[in-house]
Amino acid sequence: MSSPTLTERPTRSTLFDGLSRYIPIGATVALLAAMYLGGIANYPNFDNPQLIPDLFIGNAGLLIVAVGMTFVILSGGIDLSVGSVMAFSTMACAWLTVEAGLPASIVVPAVLVFGVLSGAFTGAIIHYFNVQPFIATLAGLFLYRGLTLQISDHDMSIRDIDFFSWGMQRIEFGDPRDGGFSLPYISFIAFGVVILAFIVLHYTRFGRSVYAVGGSEQSALLMGLPVARTKVGVYAISGFCAALGGVVAAFYTKSANPLAGVGLELDAIAAVVVGGTLLTGGAGFVLGTVAGVMVMGMLTTIIAFQGNLSSWWARIVVGVLLLAFILLQRVLARSGEKRKG
């Protein structure tokens, strides 16, 4: 008997194979577009070309933090400390430059390095001592908020430090008065982080082992992948992103506020998950996170344009919109899966 080749077709048909995992993100993007068109139809000036760029100004910090969070969640973990680390970084920038008089060109890199180290420390505790990520990073949430308040319980201005005026300088694309828009440097920092993250996640060994560890840590270990390095790495990246988010916040407001970013970790997690990443790890995209941040920003914008909602109706409407969004996303994704099956 000649040995025949085993040709196994995957249960899911090959045609849609490459595409199947893009269905959630496709649904997200389609819904975003729908929201935007709905806004244009309902509100005057919603078609202002600055509207979309504005999403990437106000949310630049959140986007950066959410990218870091994407790494962590893809690896099957979670990082609750990002909001506090971000506030701490901003405050550290402010205190070191204003009170201690150090040059910003030293302070900013130092803060970023600190972010990496603190993240790596958390990651090491999580991996080597097998502490649940939720607990380890929750300790970080309390710790850095506490430290921030101990540096200063007042907001602190850093407008006099020249360095921090750089971030909000704008690049114009066309004349703002007729169809153009402008973006400050901080948005480009955010874009840079996204692109870098995309490349790292999809085209490097480290990135793929993040997915592998998220898929099954046990298997990744048995396959001989560097699980320790990967897990410590994702928290270091998240720490770095949180610190960078803090620096961007310093650029954005030229001030440090000890209560900044309270609850930001939830916004970041929400953005990541709305963007189609599974909280259980192993599946998702960093571009989905971008879409997730845009969804959250777009919801806020629509509420602002609606303008007549009381505080509580605003919350309820955000909740309802989010609900509609999630359900539609599920329905689209499910019918997509059906079509493939």
């Binding site: 609750l80 097998n130 380890a136 300790a139 506490g146 505080s311 989010l322």
Partner: protein, 364 residues
């Protein structure tokens, strides 16, 4: 044909494993209590009777922790199913708002009104819980997202109910005794806390619910194939969590005599999850420990008081909490204990030096 196996098996594995899990949180709790006693004397722990009600610092901690305990207990069940419920803080606010507002609109001192108000609040809370569960079980939405929706919208709903005001119930309404009263000198919130704890322990451990929850959380697909109503059980867990959160809100509101839709139970979900995890239940689902959760709640409640008693400024409250959480987490980690103890037991036989680039800690 069964040969006696020379391999020794562990006897009574479960009970001792259970105790081991709880030992470290208990030690931390004891340490906190000792710190408080050292600072404020034995009065701290000794209950006193005042106005026909037990008082004293420790009893107060227990009484004030009752809402957190309820929420954490409900959260334990949800976490056992591999889920998480972020909306409990909002449900707390809704429960409080409904109860207070309903009483305000009726005859404040009528017992019937109060009973109806409480029932109504609990029913709505249960409904919200069931909704969360349905989103997770039937629509396949990730728990964190499903409950995030109500975490955001829920406070809005609570504010809508109160019109953004803080409705306050008159001090003579029977309602406030849910928060401030005492039965046989034991404060009512403690009684409710103990009762709910006992009820949940009975519900999960004398029936098979506990095991089925653990099964669904541990391996949903295997549970489904074993014929378990995984979806129904998931919904039930969220529903219980909702009721617990609503009840917590009622106790909180009764204690204050008012419902603050915006701040009531703010961030209590984080504390609740923390208590659950300190108590030894992992967020990965599966095994859960209601007793552990109770100890976790006691630690958190005592910690807050400790900060005040030791005389730390408010700025310290976060840092101190971080330190205690960190200590508990480390003590619970066998790997950490092994690592710390390692210098004390070198030179064990059979330990050959590693030839290949050793990592810092043993692989799992």
């Amino acid at each position: 044909m069964n040969l006696a196996s020379p391999v020794q098996t562990a006897g009574g594995g479960r009970a001792s494993a259970y105790f081991k899990r709880l030992m470290w949180p208990l030690i931390v709790l004891a340490a906190l209590l000792i710190v408080n006693i050292a600072v404020t004397g034995f009065d701290f722990i000794v209950p006193s009777v005042h106005d026909g009600r037990l008082g004293g610092a420790f009893v107060n901690i227990l009484r004030r922790s009752a809402p957190l305990l309820l929420i954490a207990l409900g959260m334990t069940l949800v976490i056992a199913t591999k889920g998480i419920d972020l909306s409990v803080g909002a449900v707390y606010a809704i429960g409080a708002a409904i109860a207070c507002q309903y009483i305000l609109n009726g005859d404040q001192s009528a017992l019937g009104v109060v009973v109806t108000a409480v029932t109504l609040a609990l029913a709505i809370a249960a409904l919200i819980g069931a909704w969360n569960g349905a989103m997770v079980a039937y629509f396949g939405v990730q728990p964190i997202v499903a409950t995030l929706i109500l975490m955001i919208a829920g406070r809005g709903i609570a504010q809508l109910i109160t019109g953004g005001q803080i409705p306050s119930v008159a001090d003579d309404s029977p309602f406030v005794s849910i928060g401030r009263g005492a039965i046989a000198t034991v404060p009512v919130p403690i009684i409710i806390g103990v009762a709910v704890f006992a009820a949940l322990v009975l519900l999960t451990r004398t029936t098979a619910l506990g095991m089925l929850l653990e099964s669904v959380g541990g391996n949903p697909e295997a549970s489904r194939l074993a014929g378990i109503r995984a979806k129904g059980i998931t919904v039930l867990a969220y529903l219980i969590a909702g009721i617990c959160a609503g009840l917590a809100g009622i106790i909180g509101a009764a204690n204050l005599g008012s419902a603050d839709a915006n701040n009531g139970g703010l961030w209590i979900e984080l504390d609740a999850i923390l208590a659950v995890v300190i108590g030894g239940t992992t967020l990965l689902g599966g095994r859960f420990f209601l007793v552990g959760t109770t100890i976790g709640v006691a630690i958190i409640g005592t910690l807050e008081v400790t900060i005040i008693n030791v005389g730390l400024s408010s700025q310290w409250q976060f840092t101190a909490k971080a330190i205690v959480v960190f200590i508990v987490a480390m003590l619970q980690s066998p790997e950490f204990r092994a690592w710390i103890l390692r210098p004390f037991r070198t030179g064990r036989p059979g330990r050959t030096p590693a030839a290949h680039d050793p990592e810092k800690a043993p692989a799992k």
